[in-house]
């Protein structure tokens, strides 16, 4: 690894900004000692290479990832989550290089499940994707800095997002398992009960979905599903135009309870959202004819191909708003969700330190 030198930390920060190693915000200076501490926390060899990160093809070694984690403000305990997220994004079906280079605004949304969320204090409730949650902010930021400094993504050169979105700084939260009427999201994706995992989807910023429950209305669950499906099928999204890709749906605990109390399992919700999230082919043809496949104008065209492409999880404070995260829906694999176990049994205890 190339070492930079500077007279002091203020000069080092300016140097890191100048060499485009930051996300534009101040970073913790990755001194040799801080990086070494972060590497030790993983219990892995610093030279261990997890793979080539696109689009630049940089080697994602443990030491490089640790360097970016230091810069992002992570504490050693966060490393297991950061490493799992990087491993997930290096899965070929994630199409990381293409995703980083697209003009779409996609960013990796990271949903963490399991005991690690409590250990690292990863927020799942009010404002979980907003400011004020150190673990969420630092872990997500570490992944972004890896995408820039290892993957080589730079705006307007190799990251061609026309506008981007604030989730490109950090986009990480936990599922609120305690408030969910269902098994953890991770379990539904094949994780063993009690396992910690991270689920990653290249996604747009959250699209708010308002819904007011009426316990006296037996149609409330169906109204809620239709409200969410309408946002999934919004004709500005790539999903609606391409009829492909995954979408994530963050149900707030109140909305999740409406569906759970109606006897719906997570799979039922996924199935209904997939079925309901449609547009008439003729309507799509009026908007973006180049994307529309041949067929009758009255056909209902699905925004997602199959129920498993609707990732349903519980997060946020209770209230009127849930959220939909459309995806890029492109790339060789059409932007699926990826999933990785968070390995904590290799980690070493490192005393908390900020120096």
């Amino acid at each position: 690894m190339n070492l930079l030198t500077a007279a002091d930390e203020a000069a080092a920060l300016e140097l890191l900004h100048h060499t485009e190693c930051t996300d534009g915000l101040p970073v913790v200076i990755p001194t040799r000692e801080r990086v070494a501490r972060m590497v030790v926390a993983t219990g892995l060899d610093g030279d261990l290479d997890l793979g080539a990160m696109g689009p630049g093809g940089g080697a994602a070694t443990i030491e490089k990832i640790a360097t970016n984690a230091v810069m992002a403000g992570c504490v050693p305990d966060h490393m297991s989550v950061v490493l799992a997220a990087i491993r997930a994004m290096l899965q070929p079906e994630f199409d990381l290089g293409e995703m980083q280079g697209t003009t779409h605004s996609t960013a990796p949304l990271m949903i963490v499940n399991g005991p690690v969320t409590l250990h690292c204090n990863i927020a799942a409730g009010f404002g979980a994707l907003g400011p004020g949650h150190r673990a969420n902010a630092s872990i997500g930021r570490a992944v972004r800095l890896c995408m820039m400094n290892i993957g080589g993504a730079r705006p307007g050169v190799s990251d061609m997002a026309l506008l981007g979105h604030p989730g490109k700084f950090s986009f990480c939260l936990a599922e609120d398992e305690a408030s969910s009427p269902w098994e953890p999201l991770a379990d539904s994706l094949g994780a063993a009960p009690g396992e910690s995992t991270v689920t990653v989807l290249g996604a747009e910023a959250p699209h708010s979905t308002i819904f007011v429950n009426d316990a006296d209305d037996p149609n409330s669950p169906q109204r809620l599903l239709r409200s969410i499906a309408a946002v999934i099928a919004n004709t500005g999204s790539n999903n609606a135009s391409f009829g492909a890709g995954a979408v994530a749906v963050a149900l707030n605990p109140e909305h999740a309870d409406v569906l759970g109390s109606a006897g719906m399992a997570r799979a039922d919700v996924q199935g209904e959202l997939c079925r309901l999230a449609t547009n008439r082919r003729g309507h799509l043809r009026q908007l973006n004819p180049g994307f529309v496949r041949p067929g009758d104008d009255d056909d209902a065209v699905r925004a997602v191909r199959r129920p498993d492409d609707v990732i349903v999880f519980v997060a946020g404070g209770s209230g009127l708003y849930s959220a939909v995260f459309p995806s890029w829906a492109a790339g060789a694999h059409h932007n699926p969700v990826v999933h990785e176990r968070i390995v904590t049994d290799e980690a070493c205890e490192i005393p908390f330190a900020t120096s």
């Binding site: 696109g54 689009p55 630049g56 280079g101 080589g152 307007g156 190799s158 061609m160």
Partner: protein, 66 residues
């Protein structure tokens, strides 16, 4: 060889280098091409076809250094 529009010229350089083909011949197109209409795209094709063939044959220098 590759055809790259003005706005993506830097990305073309980046991808060529990171793919291990830094010298792959590149021809610069105006931006945008998509959406400019059948006639405009036809005119552009007429304007550039000879150059593209020339670059493929090795008779014409690509725009790499431009």
């Amino acid at each position: 060889m590759t055809l790259v529009t003005d706005q993506f010229w830097s990305q073309g350089d980046f991808v060529a280098t990171s793919s291990g083909m830094p010298d792959i011949p590149r021809v610069r197109l105006p931006h945008p091409v998509a959406g400019t209409g059948h006639d405009a795209m036809g005119q552009l094709a007429e304007q550039l076809a000879g150059k593209i063939v020339g670059v493929l044959r090795g008779d014409v220098a690509p725009d790499n250094a431009a």
